[in-house]
């Protein structure tokens, strides 16, 4: 029950929330407190973000968008479509190359973040969600390879089964079962990757991009510096989506 004209919410004159805020209000307040709009969609970035290494995060994200878009087209037409139509093969190729680009950009992004020690300043969860995204993306790609319905799928599935069986995983994740692998590939694992990536991006937006190491002969700025760049109010280290 929302308030009207600034008066407290009530039913028949009785207040509806005598013990404080509702669950919804608390959740909203917490979400807005953690990620106010100026943090979620910043229009400024810290001055130290002056390197090409910062573009690989957003390139990874946009590769994921192209993967999902091309994969959705393939899913709409069914798993056999791309084998016997030129347009199907085109979208399969887009899907393949966007996956290769995704991993290429992601690996560079991870290496860059490693050498920045991007977990500093309370950002351990940012690193961990990024690393988990990579770890989960690997089986997501594997299920795609074994769902191709060609010789590649036959060979990869009959080889991959041994490691998975040895680890006990094969009992519920059977790479030679096309139906099961296709379900994992078009629904379960992409859902996991997207959920982890969203969590990662929100954590990046919340904590901001890690500032540089302090050099021994110069301290980190402790107050806002006068510079020829803009200095917005109350925006912690943010910037690029990487």
């Amino acid at each position: 029950m929302s308030s009207v004209n600034g008066e407290p919410p009530s039913v028949n004159g009785e207040p509806t929330s005598v013990n404080g805020k509702s669950w919804t209000e608390k959740a909203r307040d917490r979400a807005v407190g953690a990620l106010p709009p100026e943090k979620l969609l910043p229009d400024s970035q810290p001055s130290y973000m002056s390197s090409w290494i910062y573009v690989f995060g957003v390139l990874t994200l946009t590769s994921l968008i192209v993967i999902i878009a091309s994969g959705s087209i393939l899913a709409l037409k069914g798993p056999g479509w791309w084998h016997f139509t030129g347009i199907g093969h085109f979208f399969n190729s887009i899907h393949l190359w966007s996956v290769e680009l995704f991993f290429f950009f992601m690996v560079i992004h991870l290496w860059g973040k490693y050498w920045m020690a991007a977990w500093r300043g309370g950002r351990a969860r940012v690193w961990m969600t990024g690393a988990v995204a990579f770890v989960v993306a690997v089986p997501c790609a594997l299920t795609g390879y074994v769902s191709q319905q060609n010789f590649d799928a036959q060979w990869i599935s009959t080889q991959a089964k041994d490691g998975l069986n040895a680890a006990g995983v094969g009992s519920f994740f059977n790479v030679t079962n096309f139906g099961q692998m296709y379900s994992y590939h078009v629904y379960l694992l992409p859902l996991a990757v997207v959920a982890i990536v969203i969590a990662h991006v929100l954590l990046v937006r919340r904590h901001g991009i890690v500032p540089p190491f302090q050099l021994s002969d110069r301290a980190q700025p402790t107050a806002r510096e006068p510079e020829s760049v803009r200095e917005p109010d109350s925006v912690p280290a943010g910037g690029r989506a990487s």
């Binding site: 957003v58 946009t62 190729s93 309370g122 790609a141 060609n150 590649d152 060979w155 040895a166 302090q214």
Partner: protein, 323 residues
């Protein structure tokens, strides 16, 4: 680095209190999307994507009848890869293990496969109108186990020198093989007609998406491995990260396939579980780098960060000189 200095460094990195510059996050994302899409289209137009036709039991039995019959005979006596695999397919062995840890055995037989019944006897029983085959099947199943073993061993040995007739059948020297030549002759004919591909997919229901049986049957023979070797896909060829043709494959699996190239993994009967264990530990360590002494300190000791933030440090230095 002491705990106190780490705490101070961590606190200093919590929030940037320096200067900001204007930035358009949505514009950057849109440009990045355009760049990735353009790259994917260009790579597609230049290289397309590989799509080698799958092998079938029919193409295998026509292309290499001797290998097909040899494999089928090992399925019949249980000496094939699948017949002796263990969990999750059967109880023929305990599966791979590390010390006292038998994960495969503990998870049990979830996809039961009896290689003799599923790959040979049941498909043969599905062929109707062949009294000679029915008689051979009855004779084989009625024979004691040691007699069956005598027949299969002798037949497998003879198949080592077998030849292929012009009509695609297999010719072996005369010997004490019991009803095996009749059974295997019928199975070969059935496979060459395409019937065995369907029979191996048969289940209790009409719809079918589980290709475990035909894939394991073909993997026990040489048909897949021969093609894989030509495509540089074998384990000894770092095949896990390769793709058919000259395409980049799952390059991100380089570390998985690396372990298979070196001892003790390359010579161990438990190589798969050992490699999975090593990669499991390494993956966990990768996720937990922020908490691992040494791994978390390297970026400070090897100053690649000076290259990444060189503009920032240069600005700071010039400002210091001006001050």
């Amino acid at each position: 680095m002491s705990r106190e200095s780490r705490r101070r460094e961590d606190e200093a990195a919590r929030e940037w209190k320096g200067a900001y510059r204007p930035y358009d996050i949505l514009k950057e994302a849109s440009i990045a999307l355009g760049v990735v899409l353009a790259l994917a289209v260009v790579l597609t137009l230049l290289f397309s994507s590989p799509d080698l036709k799958p092998s079938t039991v029919q193409s295998w039995s026509r292309g290499d009848p001797v290998d097909f019959v040899t494999t089928a005979t090992t399925e019949l006596d249980g000496s094939s890869g699948t017949g002796s695999y263990g969990p999750p397919y059967n109880h023929a062995s305990d599966g791979q293990h590390i010390a006292f840890i038998y994960l495969a055995k503990w998870l049990g037989v979830s996809h039961p496969i009896n290689s003799a019944q599923d790959f040979v006897l049941a498909p043969l029983r599905s062929i109707s109108g062949q009294p000679a085959l029915a008689s051979a099947l009855s004779a084989y199943q009625a024979a004691p186990a040691n007699t069956q073993t005598t027949w299969t061993s002798a037949y497998e040995k003879a198949l080592g020198n077998a030849t292929t007739n012009p009509n695609g059948s297999v010719k072996v020297k005369p010997g004490n093989y019991g009803p095996l030549p009749a059974m295997m002759g019928s199975l070969l004919t059935f496979a060459q007609s395409g019937g065995l591909d369907g029979a191996l997919l048969t289940s209790k229901q009409f719809y079918q998406t589980d290709y475990t049986k035909p894939l394991l049957f073909m993997a026990d023979g040489g048909v897949l491995a021969t093609r894989a070797q030509q495509q540089h896909l074998l384990g000894t060829q770092w095949g896990m990260m390769n793709e058919t043709g000259s395409y980049p494959g799952q390059v991100w699996l380089w570390l998985y396939t690396f372990w298979y190239q070196i001892k003790p993994f390359s010579t161990s009967a438990n190589a798969d579980i050992l490699v999975m264990a090593v990669m499991g530990v390494l993956s966990l360590a990768f996720i937990l780098i922020p908490f691992i002494p040494g791994a978390r300190d390297l970026p400070r000791r090897i100053p690649i960060y000076k290259l990444i933030w060189r503009d920032h440090y240069r600005t700071q230095q010039s400002r210091g000189r001006l001050a």
